[in-house]
């Protein structure tokens, strides 16, 4: 360390200011401290039963063949890259 004394002072001062700021706002949420049931993220219960587990998906196999024609068609079009909007122009929808 280059300047140990100043560094030590700066560290201690910063930590003290931070502690003061935190205790002033007291942002530590008390409301979320108990175990809460029913907030499991969708699909995170180790069982994907439900949507998708039917036999209905047979036709989805076709994507493999046209995978390189795929064009992202979601909300990514709302985001402009620094190179302009050219890279995200909408192409033909995947067939």
């Amino acid at each position: 360390m280059k300047n140990k004394h100043i560094a030590t002072l700066a560290l201690a001062g910063s930590l003290a200011s931070a502690l003061a700021a935190v205790s002033a706002t007291s942002a530590m949420a008390e409301d979320s401290k108990e175990k809460c049931y029913g907030i499991a993220l969708k699909g995170q219960n180790d069982c994907a039963a439900g949507a998708g587990t039917t036999c209905a998906g047979t036709s989805k196999m076709d994507y493999q063949k046209n995978v390189f024609k795929l064009v992202p068609a979601g909300t990514c079009e709302t985001i402009k890259t620094p190179e302009g909007h050219g890279s995200l122009t909408q192409g033909p929808a995947p067939v």
């Binding site: 030590t8 931070a18 995978v67």
Partner: protein
């Protein structure tokens, strides 16, 4: 007569065909009623695939929203072919998806997609991480200021630090919930902190240098070393702000025992 494969071999071939290339059928399979084996096995395979793709979409909802359902399904299908699940714990499947997206050619026009997936993976990891109480402000206040620079901290199990050349946190926020995604200029990058101090996963944008500070602490470096590293990265690093974020976020669970 050829030797009958062992049960392990049979199961292995069956599993390989389920997640393998389309139209693959495990050898020695027969339909009880003499129907088309390919067709019957195809139903089975699709059942498995649709379930897995659905699970992946549930873990990466914003990634899916960004590119649309059809694109995501094709992405997931390609991912399944090269990275079939290795664990029965479905929530772990997809850890390799961000790196896979970087190599997935059709996604090249969405350069930030991999980092959005990284953020979503970090969120679900944080969600399932072991419970631990964050280090209490009183514990930090009681530290000897003379020795503060040498103190090391123990990372909270849920802690993740992400750095992206894209505004990934903003993109994620704009695409969660029911809000309509607003136009966004893809300007500078963002650093972010993922924590779960209690039961809820929290995301915080990090000011300049703070990611370096937290990364160093996570690696087990001392507070003094971490502060120096962050200062070296950018003169904009604000130590007080970094300490405040550290305490508020619950990124660390304890002060390490001195060795």
């Amino acid at each position: 007569m050829s030797r009958k494969p062992s049960a392990t071999q049979s199961i292995g071939r069956f599993a390989a065909a389920v997640v393998g290339a389309p139209e693959t059928v495990p050898p020695g399979l027969g339909a009880w009623n003499g129907g088309s084996v390919e067709r019957r096995f195809g139903v089975y395979r699709n059942n498995v695939r649709e379930g897995l793709i659905g699970a992946l979409a549930s873990r990466f909802p914003v990634t899916e929203k960004l590119v649309g359902r059809a694109f995501f399904s094709a992405l997931a299908e390609a991912f399944l072919l090269s990275h079939p699940p290795r664990s029965p714990v479905l929530m772990e499947w997809g850890d390799a998806l961000p790196a896979f997206i970087e190599t997935f050619e059709p996604a090249a026009t969405v350069p930030y997609l991999a980092d959005v997936a990284r953020l979503e993976a970090a969120r679900s990891h944080a969600y399932h991480a072991a419970d631990a109480a964050p280090v209490q402000p009183e514990t930090l206040a009681a530290l000897d200021s003379e020795r503060l620079a040498l103190v090391r901290l123990v990372s909270h199990p849920a802690l993740a630090i992400l750095r992206s050349p894209y505004p990934v946190l903003t993109i994620w926020e704009r695409n969660t919930g029911d809000s309509e995604p607003a136009p966004l200029e893809l300007g500078g990058g963002e650093d972010m902190l993922v924590t779960r101090p209690q039961m809820r996963v929290e995301l915080r944008p990090l000011p300049p240098g703070a990611a370096r500070f937290f990364e160093a602490l996570e690696e087990g470096q001392s507070i003094g070393w971490a502060a120096e590293a962050a200062h070296a990265e950018t003169p904009l690093f604000d130590l007080t702000l970094a300490f405040t974020l550290m305490i508020q976020s619950g990124a660390f669970s304890a002060v390490a025992e001195e060795t």
